[in-house]
Amino acid sequence: MMAQLIKNGSLTVDTWNSLEIAEGESPETLSLPEGDLLFPLAVWLARKNEIIARYPRIGLLLQPADRVEDVAADLHYFQVIAVNFPKFVDGRGYSTAALLRQRYQFAGELRAVGDVLHDQLFFMRRVGFDAYALKDGKSVEAALASGFATFSQPYQGATDQPLPAFRRNA
């Protein structure tokens, strides 16, 4: 089942599917189905030309250890970049998002997927995510009601508000 997707402050229908590399398959040989796909980094790197030729819309799926630097030159191909949080306590995805937005100016949809909880949404939005696939079983209504507005004004700068309080309020 596709997780529920929050985008632009409401629940939306998600048309993207993540491509999984099953056991015994390799990025070079796995078959590529139709549809809007989020490609694992390894598949993208191995099959870039084929993917660009075949798919009108392309998504990328990054894992915590994936280096943004490896796709920095390709970012204009992606409508969507999904950053996976296999465990919500693994915070590497926050730096990934910050780099995509702040350093490489990625302007497409940046979504957090995996173990995404209500309680992380405020932080996720601040580093630059704009779409969130909540973990299964978590209430979208509750998340929308209070997940983004936890704190009204942050101290430090980040992607959404690069100026720290001491510059904004100066």
């Binding site: 926050y94 405020f122 690069p162």
Partner: protein, 557 residues
């Protein structure tokens, strides 16, 4: 002292609301225990041996009287009437109910206190020197920059889920009373050619793998400290190990890469943030520094002190030189014999708050040696302060002496302990209860931890005691020669560990070797440096088969 403005207050109130809702969702089953755990930890809430343990933040050790009274009120209302000051300036309460914590946070917020990031894998409370701003040997007051850094760390969106906890300490003196060499980031404020900046140390830490940090930058202008720390943290967040909690601290990453390669990565990262919006402005520095302006000191000359032996002893041990003539900084000892080091009752907190109001501009500091400081006492008031503090059991003249030891809560309270530590502290205090003897021994740091996590800083004690577990029994390993300060160094293990009953004898023998060998006016640590480990080892293990001899004896038996 820093006064909260509307933004600061709004944030901590919003934090209370957030945590109240998280506790409600957890109770309702909307958050699993596993999901709730990091959330409660970031609010200082552990589940411990007997009950939850709740840690209240005292940012860089500064408190006012009203805040301490509020802590007293919480200890009395929600706990058993006492609390425990830690080596990281915080106050721990050992028996609250989880359900009460939102209310406790709400009460704390009324006096601008909180428990934000006092635990968990995030940027922790920043620590500094308890004599900041008043010390005679200070180069730069670290408090304005500590406060600016406190704000930057609070709810930092990129670094709330780091591989491991992250601790930063700042010192503004040559001597360094903030253990900066043993923090994830240690900062030394200094002045070079009229420019103020930091020497930045990275990758230090105690714990299971104690490592002295290394200098990553000899001089960093103060304006750049936030952007530079962001660069360090981004490299750590991305590349720090997450597969093994014991190897997840930044010190392991720095060791694995080597300081040169680590520095290159940080500099490459910093090239993007340097001169960006996180560069601290002079206006912001001035705004915050104004809160730490000197209080209304009077023009005084040195006061005549009553010539009473007990009082003079206390003055000798428990007061510290002040940069303003006629004033002194007073350390109230939380190391009364028979009491767990760092423990303080609600009544004592109220007495201390009154002392602060009456004699020290209403302000207090907590030291990492687990004591309370009245930083601005007129010398002429010392006698009155001493009398009142004595009556409250807060004037034991043992600061810097053997019984003024640091000690973690150990097996009596802490789930992670391998052994008890408080009873060891108490037994040693009982053995050395003769004040004349204690004074004769002179300056010595004894630090006790109940396990290798090193919350009691045993590695940097002149004498360090570490609780270890051998076949489910509690034993104690002894190190000698550790020290804090600018020349900070790890102690050396003297040999096989001891049982709890042996510990007072062991310490007594160590002291004997020192007394027999010292030159006139030589401190323990200097004698140790001169004569080395062996004389201590020989006496302590005299007549005791150990090492090879012991295994041979066992085989023959």
């Amino acid at each position: 002292m820093y006064q909260y403005n509307a933004l600061d207050r709004q944030l901590i109130n919003e934090r209370v609301a957030q945590f109240r809702d998280q506790v409600r969702r957890w109770k309702a089953g909307e958050l699993s225990d596993e999901e709730f755990r990091p959330l409660r930890l970031q609010n200082g809430l552990y589940i411990q041996r007997h009950a939850p343990m709740f840690r209240i933040a005292v940012p860089y050790g500064m408190l006012n009287a009203e805040q301490l009274r509020k802590m007293a009120h919480l200890a009395r209302t929600y706990d058993r009437g006492y609390g425990h000051f830690t080596t990281r300036h915080n106050l721990q309460l050992n028996w609250p109910k989880i359900e009460d914590v939102p209310e406790m946070l709400a009460e704390l917020a009324t006096v601008d206190l909180h428990a934000i990031q006092t635990s968990g894998n995030c940027l922790r409370n920043i620590t500094t020197d308890q004599f900041a701003g008043v010390a005679a040997d200070e180069i730069i007051d670290p408090r304005p920059l500590a406060e600016i850094m406190r704000q930057w760390t609070t709810f930092h969106p990129e670094f709330a889920f780091l591989p491991r906890k992250f601790k930063i300490a700042i010192s503004g003196t040559e001597e360094d009373r903030a253990v900066t060499w043993f923090h994830d980031i240690g900062l030394h404020l200094k002045q070079v050619d009229g420019q103020v900046g930091f020497t930045v140390i990275v990758g230090g830490g105690l714990g299971r793998t104690p490592i002295r940090g290394q200098i990553i930058r000899d001089f960093l202008p103060w304006q750049d400290i936030l952007s530079y720390c962001e660069a360090v943290l981004r490299v750590y967040n991305r590349y720090g190990r997450r597969d093994n909690a014991y190897k997840a601290r930044i010190k392991i990453l720095v060791q694995a890469l080597g300081i040169e390669a680590f520095r290159e990565q940080v500099e490459a990262e910093w090239a993007h943030g340097k001169n960006g919006p996180m560069t601290i402005t002079q206006a912001e520095y001035d705004r915050v520094a104004a809160h730490f302006a000197a209080p209304a000191y009077e023009t005084l000359s040195a006061a005549e002190l009553p010539q009473e032996k007990a009082f003079l002893r206390w003055v000798d041990r428990n007061t510290h030189a002040h940069k303003v003539p006629g004033y002194a900084a007073v350390t109230l000892s939380l190391k009364k014999h028979g009491i767990a080091p760092g423990d303080i009752t609600a009544e004592q907190m109220e007495i201390v708050a009154d002392l602060a109001d009456r004699y020290s501009f209403g302000e207090l500091r907590i030291s990492h040696e687990q004591n309370i400081i009245l930083a601005d006492v007129k010398q002429a008031d010392l006698y009155a302060v001493w009398q009142k503090a004595s009556a409250a059991g807060l004037a034991t003249p043992n600061i810097g002496l053997l019984t003024g030891m640091i000690c973690c809560p150990g097996g009596d309270f802490c789930d992670l302990a391998n052994a008890k530590s408080i009873p060891i502290a108490t037994a040693i205090q009982a053995r050395f209860d003769d004040l004349d003897y204690l004074f004769d021994i002179g300056e010595i740091d004894l630090n006790i931890s109940g396990c290798m996590n090193a919350c009691g800083h045993h590695h940097v004690g002149h004498i360090g005691v570490l609780g270890v577990d051998k076949n489910d029994a509690e034993f104690y390993q002894v190190t000698l020669g550790g020290r804090q300060g600018y020349e900070a160094k790890l102690g050396k293990v003297i040999g096989p560990s001891f049982s709890a009953e042996e510990m007072p004898d062991v310490v007594e023998k160590i002291i004997k070797v020192y007394l027999a060998n010292r030159h006139e006016d030589e401190r323990f640590i200097d004698t140790f440096d001169r004569i080395g480990l062996d004389p201590f080892k020989n006496l302590v293990y005299e007549g005791r088969a150990h090492g090879k001899a012991k295994s041979a004896a066992q085989e023959n038996a």
